[in-house]
């Protein structure tokens, strides 16, 4: 049995190391001889046992003695631990590919593949803290949220992408191009919601509302695209808003009038109230077919969500 364990262990280690590959071959030879009803004559077991005990004996005779006495049991324990940790690593790798985090969807625990947690960083709702925020992820959902008043691009697709972001949030700005690419590529239904998580950007939401009301969705999407892609400092300077509106050949006065009206303020407030019903805790929060992705994930994560790469 230790030969079988050795074959699996060294087989895995052999992927990375030539010396372990040779040991794996030796272990295989040992098993092959056993299954063909011949004695394993390579001395493989003793070789491995000897090598291990030699390392221990120079440090502690007692430990070496114990190691020798309980060699088989210890082999099993280490084997099970290795299989367990291998499965754990595989699970982590799978999660990272599919969710952008080793620990699962929106989980912000340490991940060796993303040690700085870049894929989970958000601008926190409430205190505008930038970075990693760990909340009860499961509660972020679209249940009972009315999205009919938000800018929407409808297609024939069965896929729907909802992007909740803030113009002043670096992570929203990071995710934005990937979401646009995804929506474009998949021709998905798309809903955008501005959530002013950081800084005073409510006026941009109100301006957006006014543009949409006066000029329609196309004009809004152009402005929205600009606000997410242009220089952040420039668009966040309130004094530049009129220039921006003018650059899109919009009637600045008309837009400002509506944006500053009680109607716009109420509409934007109502939108935020609806968004709060999702229990979102940071921006960006992206729903793809109802599944929440908090933080700027790699494009493959969004793509996988639509492709249904995931099985569980």
């Amino acid at each position: 049995m230790p030969c079988l364990i050795a074959l699996i262990v060294f087989g895995i280690m052999g992927i990375f190391s030539a010396s372990h590959r040779a040991l794996a071959k030796e272990a295989f030879d040992c098993i092959f001889r056993r299954v063909t009803f011949r004695p394993c004559n390579t001395g493989f077991q003793d070789k491995i046992k000897g090598k291990i005990l030699s390392k221990i004996i120079n440090r502690s005779t007692f430990l070496a003695k114990m190691g020798n006495k309980h060699y088989e049991v210890l082999s099993w324990i280490f084997f099970i631990l290795m299989v367990g940790s291998t499965l754990w690593v595989l699970r982590g790798g799978y999660n990272f590919y599919v969710y952008g985090s080793c620990n699962g969807l929106n989980e912000s625990g340490f991940c060796a593949f993303d040690p700085k947690g870049e894929n989970n960083k958000t601008t926190a709702v409430g205190d505008s803290t930038c970075g990693i925020t760990q909340n009860e992820v499961k509660s972020v959902a679209l249940n009972g949220v009315d999205l009919s008043d938000f800018p929407m691009r409808k297609t024939e697709s069965e896929n729907t992408v909802i992007f909740i972001g803030c113009y002043d949030c670096d992570y929203s700005r990071k995710a934005y191009p990937d979401i646009q690419r995804l929506v474009e590529k998949k021709q998905a239904n798309y809903i955008f919601a501005h959530y002013p998580a950081k800084g005073d950007t409510t006026y941009l939401g109100e301006a957006g509302y006014a543009v949409r009301e006066i000029y329609g969705d196309d004009a809004f999407w152009k402005l929205n695209d600009y606000l997410f892609t242009a220089d952040e400092n420039y668009i966040l300077d309130k004094a530049n808003l009129n220039t921006i509106l003018a650059s899109f050949n919009l009637d600045v006065k008309k837009v400002n009038d509506l944006a500053n009206s009680a109607e716009a303020q109420t509409a934007v407030e109502n939108q935020i109230k609806e968004l709060n019903k999702t229990n979102l805790y940071g921006t960006p929060t992206i729903f793809i077919n109802g599944k929440p992705f908090v933080g700027p994930k790699p494009y493959r994560v969004y793509n996988s969500a639509i492709n249904r790469f995931i099985f569980f």
Binding site: D46, K51, S54, I57, G67
Partner: protein, 402 residues
């Protein structure tokens, strides 16, 4: 008395600057090589890598001269009457096979061997038994592994050849070659000695022994691998019919005839291992500077220490006589029910101590005694008492945990 430190300075591996210096206790399998042997071989490859004995140019001449020199060194080393009695082979095994296939054995011929023969002096005779129908008789040793002359005397009558190990690689026992040869000759029987383990450790004088044939290897006597010597008395070699023929064994040939060269050339078919032969000559030259009594005294000192320490360890059994003086430089031991391979692996891993485990090519003896395997320490002139102590210390550690 040997100056071991001075000797060790001649071996590069024992003066390594990088990495651990091995505690090499496996010289019965393979000896270390002094720098001069390696340099002599390099000299051939770098400066005159030509054919010896055939090419007339200067490089060929130099190679011929060096090979001749090596033959002379070897002849002098074993006190052969003539250098023509020295046939270069690849090893002891080839020498014995040469004899087995050249002496003209016919069905019913009897060959006597001991019960502790290396496969090289057992299998050729068993093969000949199966192919030709010779009779192989085994001379049982005493219980302590020493040679039983009475058993031998009872079997000698009617034999054609006694082919026997001189010093056993199993237990280090040196058989009383002179008495054996005397008895054999009295009965008109030829004697071949397997001197692979004796020649590195004791003076061999073929004339004094009056031995008919002698085979040994270069690699156990500080020489290169793939080298060996088969000695035969001139008059006997003349009568042998070579079994390997071809290049460099004939004076001339036509499409339907050939004329063999004289000995030793007629037995050295094909292009020879010139670098090896030159290296062997150098090894013989190196070894000749020592008094073999000093080598034996040194080995005995180390063997005595190891033997005494092993005796203190419960369950360890030493193969062969109790007295280390009867075991040359060999201490072969085992523990019943224990696979000795693990000792070898652990000693190597723990402290770079190299000993050998297994059945040491004497499977027949182990099968007969129903012993699984053993661990063998074999000493030589470059080993030190500190190395012997390191071996014992680490062995005790291993035994403590097993």
């Amino acid at each position: 008395m040997l100056n071991v430190n001075k000797i060790r300075a001649d071996f590069k591996i024992l003066n390594k600057k990088d990495g651990a210096i091995p505690v090499y206790l496996d010289s019965a399998c393979m000896s270390l090589k002094p720098n001069s042997v390696v340099e002599a071989m390099n000299d051939y490859y770098f400066n005159f890598p030509a054919c010896a004995g055939r090419s007339a140019h200067r490089l060929g001449d130099k190679a011929t001269k060096k090979v001749k020199e090596a033959r002379e060194f070897v002849a002098k080393f074993i006190n052969a009457k003539s250098e023509d009695e020295i046939i270069f082979t690849r090893n002891t095994t080839e020498g014995i096979n040469l004899l087995a296939n050249s002496l003209g054995f016919v069905k019913g011929d009897v060959v006597l061997i001991s019960d502790k023969e290396h496969n090289s002096n057992l299998v050729p005779w068993l093969l000949l038994r199966d192919k030709v129908g010779i009779v192989v008789k085994i001379i049982p040793s005493n219980t302590d592994g020493t040679f039983n002359l009475d058993n031998f005397s009872k079997l000698i009558n009617g034999a054609k050849l006694v082919s026997i190990v001189h010093t056993s690689n199993l237990d280090g026992v040196t058989n009383p070659a002179k008495e054996i040869i005397k008895i054999a000759h009295k009965n008109g029987v030829l004697v071949c000695l397997d001197a692979a383990q004796s020649i590195p450790h004791r003076k061999i004088d073929v004339q004094d022994l009056d031995v008919d044939f002698l085979a040994f290897s270069g690699h156990k006597m500080l020489g290169p691998t793939g080298t060996g010597v088969f000695y035969g008395k001139s008059e006997l070699l003349e009568k042998l019919s070579p079994f390997l023929v071809g290049g460099d064994t004939v004076e001339f040939s036509t499409y339907d005839s050939y004329k063999m060269l004289e000995v030793p050339e007629k037995f050295e078919a094909g292009l020879q291992n010139y670098a090896g032969i030159i290296g062997l000559g150098e090894a013989v030259k190196y070894l000749s500077q020592f008094d073999f009594n000093d080598i034996r005294e040194h080995e005995l000192k180390l063997n005595t220490y190891i033997t005494e320490e092993l005796k203190k360890i419960l369950n360890i059994k030493i193969i062969g006589p109790e007295n280390p003086a009867d075991r040359s430089g060999i201490v072969n031991f085992y523990m019943e029910g224990t696979d000795m391979h693990k000792f070898v692996i652990m000693l190597d891993e723990m402290a770079d101590i190299e000993i050998r485990s297994g059945q040491h090519c004497v499977h027949s003896w182990f099968a007969d005694k129903k012993i699984y395997n053993s661990a063998r320490v074999s000493l030589y002139l470059y080993n030190t008492i500190e190395e012997a102590e390191a071996f014992i210390t680490n062995l005790k550690k291993i035994i403590e945990i097993l």
